[in-house]
């Protein structure tokens, strides 16, 4: 499962020897994130974000378990127990703010992680399975975050839950009964709150399980790298420890500084003030919006405003789910043999001047009220989004002439590689 030159674990003393023969846990760690795991030597800071995502998963589980000790999933008291955590529980405010902002930071690092994957086409063979599991994780994260936002039972909790569960009503024939069954009533209430809490507690552990598969799948081919050229020999790699443990440690420090800046100095900036108003089924908020990290998908949902054979609402629901499901097919849509965007001139242009602006525009429109000009702008962006992945990307990958690749990672880093038989001119961008 690793390169032949990977260092082998050697128990250092009698105790580890004993352990190694019975439960080789130290060996597993040594081979997974220790000196026994050779990693490309040219990884940029973009490759820090997987570890950071794992860190935030741990933050969410730890703070979440503490919050669950003081929270009561009952529509009568949920809002009050949340305030009890903020006011009376020792350091409860810190747990809650860390959990709420931790969710935001989890999404920030995962978005960077995903778009890293898109730019370097990390989804291509032999890493399809890593990518597919990643998309599964992302879907699970979205479900978890959505249900978590409902728990404090504020106005946005309630109305967000109502809007999103209402989407099931758009499914022809079975929609309405399905919705009532899922929600446990005609509108979200105690039944919904209880099942959301149960699932919100469960899903992070499911995510943790899928993350283990994700990393297992990663360890078969090993990480890709900014050149996209596969590892050929020992001089292309460095042992994970100490090189990447040190680099990940520094990256973690930087992100923690930003995280703590939010937790301690602007903990409510990423939230919505309406969620400090207790849920009231009789008073609809002026603008119902989800949490910021759902804005792009919310914009796609709302871009479909015209009944065309199917109802506009159903089109919106289909498009919203499709916008993430297309990621599953990327390994087969993008056929270019070159991975890294650094060597793909056309792909690179569409990535930076097409996809990224589109995501930003969708993000802005998703948070804006559903009125012009935002609706029209989001419609153009939605169209581009689907064209980018389903039409433009496949076409680019067949017509593009990639730039010359370095012979090896070693050449990319050192500027020369004595093994380079063809003496390929190096493109030393790394």
């Amino acid at each position: 499962m690793s390169f032949p030159w990977a260092r082998e674990y050697k128990p250092a003393n009698g105790f580890t020897q004993f352990l190694d023969e019975r439960l080789p846990l130290p060996r597993l760690v040594y081979n997974a994130v220790g000196a026994g795991y050779p990693v490309p030597r040219n990884l940029s800071y973009m490759w820090n974000f997987g570890v950071l995502a794992g860190f935030f998963l741990v933050v969410q589980i730890v703070t979440g378990v503490v919050l669950a000790m003081h929270y009561a999933a009952n529509a009568e008291v949920a809002f009050a127990t949340t305030e009890h955590i903020m006011r009376d529980v020792n350091w409860g405010w810190l747990m809650r703010y860390a959990h709420a902002n931790g969710a935001s930071f989890f999404f920030i690092v995962v978005y960077i992680h995903i778009f890293r994957g898109l730019f370097y086409s990390s989804y291509k063979a032999p890493r399809e399975m890593i990518w597919l599991l990643g998309v599964v994780i992302f879907l699970l994260m979205m479900a978890t975050a959505f249900m978590g936002y409902v728990l404090p039972w504020g106005q946005m909790s309630f109305w967000g839950a109502k809007v999103i569960t209402g989407l099931f009503g758009a499914i022809p024939l079975v929609g309405e009964p399905l919705q009532v069954w899922l929600v446990g009533g005609f509108a979200p209430d105690n039944a919904a709150l209880n099942r959301f809490f149960s699932l919100h507690f469960l899903l992070p552990f499911v995510i943790a399980g899928v993350v283990i598969l994700h990393i297992w799948a990663l360890h078969i081919p090993g990480s890709s790298n900014p050149t996209g050229v596969e590892v050929k020999k020992e001089s292309d790699t460095l042992p994970f420890h100490p090189y990447y443990t040190a680099k990940d440690g520094f990256g973690l420090g930087v992100v923690l500084i930003f995280f703590m800046l939010f937790v301690f100095f602007m903990p409510n900036m990423l939230g919505h003030p309406d969620n400090y108003i207790e849920a009231n089924p009789l008073a609809t908020p002026a603008h119902i919006v989800p949490e910021w990290y759902f804005y792009p998908f919310y914009a796609i949902l709302r871009a479909f405003t015209f009944d065309f054979i199917l109802s506009a609402k159903l089109w919106g629901v289909l498009a919203m789910f499709a916008s993430i499901l297309v990621w599953f097919f990327l390994p087969w849509l993008d056929k270019s043999p070159v991975r890294s965007g650094h060597y793909r001139p056309l792909f690179r242009k569409f990535f930076w001047f097409g996809l990224i602006p589109t995501m930003i525009v969708l993000f802005i429109c998703g948070g804006a009220p559903a009125e012009e000009p935002f609706v029209m702008i989001s419609q153009i962006a939605t169209a581009y989004y689907f064209l980018h992945f389903l039409v433009i990307l496949p076409i680019i990958s067949s017509i593009e002439k990639p730039e010359p690749l370095p012979y090896s990672i070693t050449e990319a880093v050192l500027g020369h590689d004595d093994d380079a038989k063809l003496g390929a001119v190096s493109a030393t961008k790394a």
Partner: protein, 283 residues
């Protein structure tokens, strides 16, 4: 095959969404949109002159101001508004000692049960009691206020954008309808029982101006009770009720940031040290 199906799906979504776009564009051209008065004349909250002492990363509570704010709440707002998440024992944070807290609580009547007959009565509050609601239920609250229910104020400062300044602006923002608004929107009016206020999102609200004249309360500390001063004080008090841990939070934040900065610099140096042997020399 998968690429052909993909392209068809992509073109399908594009077609439908562009159709919707065309429809929207057509409407935008053929119908004129008159923005509502709420759009043009709504004002964003403004901070009082001098701001608040708790603002900013180093802010601290002005305890005298919070005490004055409590007095305004108790003497004015509590007639209509509850504050159900605040207990009298919390008032110790405002610099009152145990006996003072007991005395403050005892000034307020809360619902109780007669120990001899078991009938509902009232009794003086104890420090463990929460601030009482002025109305027995929402129906009574609505009946007394022209069908609007005065919201609970505990969390108000966090439940509105720029909450502290919003409360201050709202309290000082009542006035007649400006002539320009009348000129732009001749139909705009304030129905009876509502009051015009440009800081309220739809410009008319059901709360009569609560703070109307200088000297409405008499401050124990001798501060002059102008309308502006009282509004500022009660806004500061409501910031505290919304988040009693606000100052503690910021004060905890600094050592945490300091430590992290130090740890991150160490992490950076050790990373540099470890990598120095394998980094090619930049030419």
């Amino acid at each position: 095959m998968i690429r052909i199906i993909g392209a068809l799906v992509g073109l399908g979504f594009t077609f439908v969404v562009m159709w919707a776009f065309g429809n929207g564009a057509y409407n935008a051209i053929t119908e004129d949109h008159v923005p509502a008065a709420e759009y043009t004349y709504y004002k964003k909250p403004v901070a009082p002159a001098g701001g608040f002492q708790q603002d900013g990363p180093f802010g601290t509570w002005d305890l005298a101001q919070l005490q004055r704010g409590y007095q305004v709440y108790k003497e004015v707002c509590a007639a209509c508004h509850s504050m159900k998440f605040v207990a009298f024992r919390d008032m110790a944070d405002l610099g009152y000692n145990e006996d003072e807290v007991k005395a403050l609580a005892a000034q307020v009547q809360v619902p109780g049960i007669d120990p001899n007959t078991g009938e509902a009565t009232t009794r003086p509050a104890l420090p463990i009691d929460y601030f009482p609601s002025p109305y027995p239920n929402n129906v009574a609250a609505a009946a007394a206020n022209n069908n609007a229910i005065p919201p609970d104020l505990s969390l108000m400062a966090k439940a509105r954008g720029d909450g502290t300044n919003y409360i201050y602006s709202l309290l000082t923002g009542y006035g007649p309808i400006p002539a320009e608004l009348k000129a732009d929107f001749p139909d705009f009016d304030t129905p009876t029982g509502l009051y015009f206020n440009q800081y309220f999102p739809n410009l008319n609200l059901a709360m009569a101006p609560p703070i109307t004249s200088d000297g409405q309360v008499t401050y124990a500390d001798g501060t002059e009770a102008t309308v502006d001063q009282m509004s500022k004080d009660v806004a500061a008090f409501m910031t505290w009720t919304a988040e009693p841990t606000l100052v503690k939070r910021k004060q905890t934040g600094w050592p945490v940031l300091g430590f992290l900065l130090f740890a991150t610099i160490l992490a950076f140096l050790s990373k540099k040290q470890i990598w120095s042997a394998v980094k090619p020399k930049k030419s």
